[in-house]
């Protein structure tokens, strides 16, 4: 099985450690992983800024770049949701379906497809799991508080194996962090208020670490935490926690 690792543009440029953690986890699982160098962006940022035509061009490009890989795996639920739920609108059902069927969020792939044993190294911290909106309400990875279709939660399943980890209970476990791509700069005041409310909820639960399968949410929360002096909080992508100290 040949895996194409998709490292979303924001991870590539701003948080390369997450890409390497994802790579390490896949390689440890014994699959062959390639990183097609021609990849750039899935097009979500353009679609949500009103660029239907531009996003379509990038979707078509994504399909070409990852042609020939048995599965496409990304450490970003939101980008995966773009491929799985929006490419059909851009490329047509026939062209999008084969891509959608083999594109996976990292934890979903490790847990649901490769069925790796959850890592068991020590991570003795109180961890707040931030449910990214697109993981939850587009990929349906987890059980949304408002109901509707629900699936297994691979992030929680994989983290639960770590020694000493404590997943804290949040008052609003699946409220949006307010990133929302272009929303974060078009509506900065509301966006920041939403993010600060998440940080407050996580603090009330005495979380030491915040993690998620969505790096864009985490970059937004980290930028808020830094500005507001919340240096006590460590913000880590779930791949970094799962890969452990070896990477």
């Amino acid at each position: 099985m040949r895996i194409g690792l998709f490292v979303p543009c924001h991870v590539d440029q701003l948080w390369p450690e997450v890409g390497f953690a994802a790579l390490a986890l896949l390689e440890r699982a014994g699959v062959e992983v390639g990183f097609p160098a021609a990849q750039t962006c899935c097009g979500q940022a353009l679609l949500s800024t009103g660029g239907h035509a531009e996003a379509r061009a990038l979707a078509a490009r994504f399909a070409r770049v990852f042609d020939g890989y048995d599965a496409i795996v990304a450490p970003s639920a939101s980008c995966v949701a773009m491929v799985r739920t929006h490419y059909a609108d851009l490329l047509g059902e026939a062209a999008a379906a084969p891509l959608a069927a083999r594109t996976y969020e990292l934890c979903e792939f490790l847990h649901g497809v490769l069925r790796v044993a959850p890592p068991a190294h020590a991570f003795p911290h109180r961890v707040a799991l931030h449910a990214g909106c697109h993981a939850l309400r587009e990929l349906r990875l987890g059980r949304p508080s408002a109901g509707g279709a629900a699936g297994g939660d691979p992030v929680r399943a994989l983290l639960s194996g770590l020694a000493g980890i404590e997943l804290v209970k949040l008052a609003r476990a699946d409220e949006c962090c307010g990133f929302g791509g272009v929303f974060s700069v078009v509506e900065p005041e509301v966006s920041c208020r939403m993010g600060l409310d998440r940080l407050d909820d996580q603090r009330a639960a005495h979380a030491q670490v915040v993690t998620s399968s969505d790096p864009s949410c985490l970059l937004h929360l980290a930028a808020l935490a830094r500005r507001h002096g919340r240096d006590d909080l460590r913000i880590l992508h779930v791949a970094q926690i799962l890969a452990g100290p070896r990477t």
Partner: protein, 453 residues
Amino acid sequence: MTHAERAAGFLRDAERARWHDGSLWSLREKRDRAAAAVPDWEALREAAARIKRHVLAELPAYLTRFEERAQARGAVVHWARDAAEHNEIVEGLLREAGARRVVKSKSMLTEECGLNPHLEARGIEIVDTDLGERIVQLRHERPSHIVMPAIHLRRQEIGALFHAELGSPEGESDPTALTLAARRDLRARFLGAQAGITGVNFAIAETGGIVVCTNEGNADLGTVLPPLHIACMGIEKLIPRAADLPVFLRLLARSATGQAQTAYTAHFHGPRAGGALHIVLVDNGRSRLRARGEFADALTCIRCGACMNTCPVFRRSGGHSYEAVIPGPIGSVLEPARAPAAHASLPYACSLCGSCRDVCPLRIDLPRQLLAWRSELAAHESGGALRRAGLRAARFAFERPRVYAALGALARWAGRVLPERWLGGRWNPWTRGRALPPTPPKSFRALYARRQK
């Protein structure tokens, strides 16, 4: 002004914003519990969506049938192409009946048509009888929420308003006392009214009947006392059969407030003995929206307000920040259809979290529609040209990995060497409340390429 600017204004009163968010969130939680208690909730949503989509597809036939059956029961049916025609019809009916004092129960349609100012300008007194609507009427503002029109106000503000307008004791802010003060005032107006206007929640094509749901019984009282009842409805309110009604009644109140049913569900099948019933069917852009495949689903909305209660943006920006008759997610889809230029910022008042789609009893795919509006409205938006240019530039770079990598390296280099106050100036909306993002010396692709060597 854009939604973002008005939202920023709302958030400046941090304490009010927090309280507003909390009140609506508790409604969301009540809705969750109510929905979870119905074992076939998802099947109900599915059925409701199917019925309403079917009605939309066959709308002309159902409208004709409804008109026939309603007339057979003695109601008079009127057709209004737009808001102006609607207002003229209602005004004409009131004049014919010599009615100068009118009571009205909750109706978003008459809000949409601007009926109150139209009648007031012509010397007809119109009193909103829903408590929340009465409060906003006395304050000369529009409802901030379609189910709880005065949810943006705290009881102390309502106390001060009632002291000034209704003569309740100064400093009184006890909800029960304030409700009684409103009740005393409204009771006299009910008794003196010469006509009652209501909205319509559901109109049944098969029977020619209309159904009005309230929690205060004000539609009932406003139609049994005066001899003339005028019911105003959008043409999308139809359902095919009486047997379809329970599907919607089970969904409506649970979605709205978490109640199993509204306290009152009034059925009107023809005029009451000795009275007259007029039904005004209004298009006002609905046919146009119906013809637009991708947005037509928005016409299946039953106005429960669940999308507003769940929306993290609405809860933190208040209904007035939308400057629209219908605020929130559904309003952000409907209002640009009515006036694209005026409402071009609304589809951006959304983080695309998808929560509204999960709570919508009609399963309207609101996030997808908001996304579609963004592409469509680029022409109408302030800064739309700039945005289009940015999109083209982004596409150019993302289609050329080397350009993309070079621009990324340049930006990260700038982030490391330039002073933070330059990059994080007022011009940069990212840093208004956030630190700059990290600027690692090497990208993943650069490090990966080195590793492969």
